[in-house]
């Protein structure tokens, strides 16, 4: 069973190859910026799909991408499920006097708005592990060449 790293690398490289193929060789600022954006999204999407739907954050990433491409107007935040989840989160006992940091962390981790704090920590741990892979391994290899 290939590791997450392999799966991610595979998808990411394929995505970048496609990007290279489709785009011209124009190196205008705008084009470069567009490429940057697509590569960044490719990175996150490759990682999220390599992880699969097991994790809440990968689900959230994939959902965001799909929604953005398919329905630009669709606001997932207004969905009924999101509302229910967020209400549950807000009803959690406000034990944390670290509410501010907790909120910041929720904003950072995709899909973090709807989880309780315990789950948020879980997701953060996995997210950190995957971010490391994403940020270092294939990109540095690509840049090597």
């Amino acid at each position: 069973m290939p590791s997450i790293k392999t799966r991610f690398t595979y998808r990411f490289i394929r995505a970048v190859q496609k990007l290279n193929k489709n785009r011209g060789v124009s190196s205008s600022m705008k084009e470069t910026y567009r490429r940057y954006h697509m590569i960044r999204v490719a990175s996150y999407a490759s990682m999220a799909s390599a992880v699969g739907s097991k994790r809440a954050w990968s689900q959230a990433v994939l959902r965001k991408i799909r929604n953005h491409t398919l329905h630009r107007d669709l606001k997932k935040k207004c969905g009924i499920h999101a509302l229910i989840r967020r209400r549950k989160v807000s009803e959690n006992p406000r034990n944390n006097l670290n509410f501010h940091q907790e909120n910041d962390l929720r904003k950072l981790v995709p899909g973090g708005e709807d989880m309780d704090f315990c789950r948020l920590l879980n997701e953060t741990a996995h997210y950190i592990k995957c971010l490391r892979t994403q940020g270092l391994h294939p990109k540095t290899q690509l840049l090597e060449r």
Binding site: M1, P2, S3, T6, R7, Y10, I13, R14, A15, Q17, K18, V25, S27, Y33, R35, Y36, H37, M38, I39, A42, S43, A45, S49, L62, I65, H68, T69, L70, P93, R94, N95, N96, L97, N98, Q101, E102, D104, L108, V109, F117, C118, L121, N122, T124, A125, I128, K129, L131, R132, T133, G135, L136, H137, K139, T140, Q141, L142, L143, E144, R145
Partner: protein, 360 residues
């Protein structure tokens, strides 16, 4: 006062248990608070000067670390401070508590361990104070404080005993089973605070889970060991995640700027995974990878761990020898399609969406 306290060292905790039943904890807490304030006025101890700042320091330190919402427990810090740090204060408080056993037990508790702790320094003192404070509550978040403070080792076994006992026992027998060295106020607190309704139990379980996870995150995030406290660690984690995300952006920018000129084949990147597939495919592999990965000069401390992780698989690469790269690509595609046939179509369709929609 201390002398008279030192004399009676053999009273059993039961006496204190009795006394605990006589006075409500609230009364005791207010009494102790009053005593604390009185003691701050009097300068009858040479260590008074040290005690005042520690009291004020510890209380704000303890407050944010509280996770309980029970108001009556917020007044505990003062009691804890008096019990843990200033044995003299407890000694001073003895007459007012009407029982010599209080002083005895507290003196026992504050005998050797706390002597060391008092002398060892501010941090340790705070650690033990906060540790003991948390001991008092019905929710014993031992791991949180143990993780946070370096003084956990000393108080660790004490705490673990208490945690184990108070977790299992709801009766007043807890105090009698605990060793004499444990501070008496823990007996009191445990007994009364074992408001063992399901709510507080669930709260406690939840907090222990959270502390476990924070511990795990602490190992993940480099540089988190120096920070103590949940807030600091959360800050570190947030910074780390942000820096990782920024790094992804930075590298994407680099890739975007450089890549039109680069040409690479996919097989170059998967040689390290070939052994996983090579069992079923007899082709030999060649690795034309760069054997030395030169990482960007992004060697921030925050990503050094990630670098190490990424380095190790790359170091496996030079070990492979092999044939042409074409069979490898086919091999990989076959195997990957077998493994990931379910996932790839979805991913591909996503990509088509991305490209067609001109995602921005």
């Amino acid at each position: 006062m201390l002398r008279c306290v030192a004399q009676s060292t053999t009273s059993s905790p039961e006496k204190y248990a009795v006394m605990g039943m006589d006075m409500s904890v609230l009364e005791k807490q207010t009494a102790v608070l009053q005593r604390l304030y009185q003691q701050q006025e009097h300068s009858w101890q040479p260590q008074e000067a040290n005690i005042n700042p520690t009291i004020h320091q510890n209380m704000p330190n303890l407050q944010p670390a509280k996770y309980d919402q029970c108001l009556d427990e917020i007044s505990l810090p003062s009691f804890a401070i008096s019990g843990r740090e200033q044995q003299q204060h407890i000694g001073f408080a003895c007459p007012e508590l009407t029982s010599g056993s209080v002083s005895a037990v507290s003196n026992n508790s504050s005998k050797t361990k706390h002597d060391h702790q008092i002398n060892s320094g501010m941090l340790k003192r705070e650690g033990t104070v906060s540790n003991s404070t948390r001991k008092r509550k019905a929710e014993f978040d031992v791991e949180e404080d143990c993780k946070d403070k370096g003084a956990e080792r000393e108080a660790g076994e004490v705490q673990s005993d208490i945690t184990v006992k108070t977790d299992r026992e709801t009766s007043t027998d807890t105090s009698s089973k605990e060793s004499i060295q444990k501070p008496d106020y823990i007996h009191v607190r445990a007994r009364r605070g074992q408001a063992t309704d399901s709510h507080s139990l669930a709260e406690r379980a939840r907090r222990e889970k959270i502390s476990k996870k924070m511990k795990y995150l602490q190992d993940l995030v480099p540089g988190c060991n120096k920070v103590t406290g949940k807030a600091g660690m959360l800050d570190e984690i947030i910074n780390y995640v942000q820096s990782l995300q920024k790094q992804v952006e930075f590298l994407s920018m680099k890739l975007a700027a450089l890549n039109p000129r680069l040409d690479f084949s996919i097989d170059d990147f998967f040689s390290k995974e070939i052994p996983a597939y090579i069992a079923s495919f007899p082709t030999q592999l060649q690795v034309s990878n760069p054997t030395s990965l030169q990482y960007n000069p992004l060697q921030e401390g925050a990503i050094s761990c990630g670098v190490d992780i990424a380095m190790s698989p790359s170091q496996m690469l030079p070990q492979k020898e092999g044939s042409s790269s074409v069979p490898i690509t086919e091999v990989y595609h076959d195997s990957s399609s077998a493994h990931q046939a379910r996932m790839l179509p979805t991913w591909d369709s996503e990509w088509q969406n991305l490209f067609s929609a001109g995602f921005h």
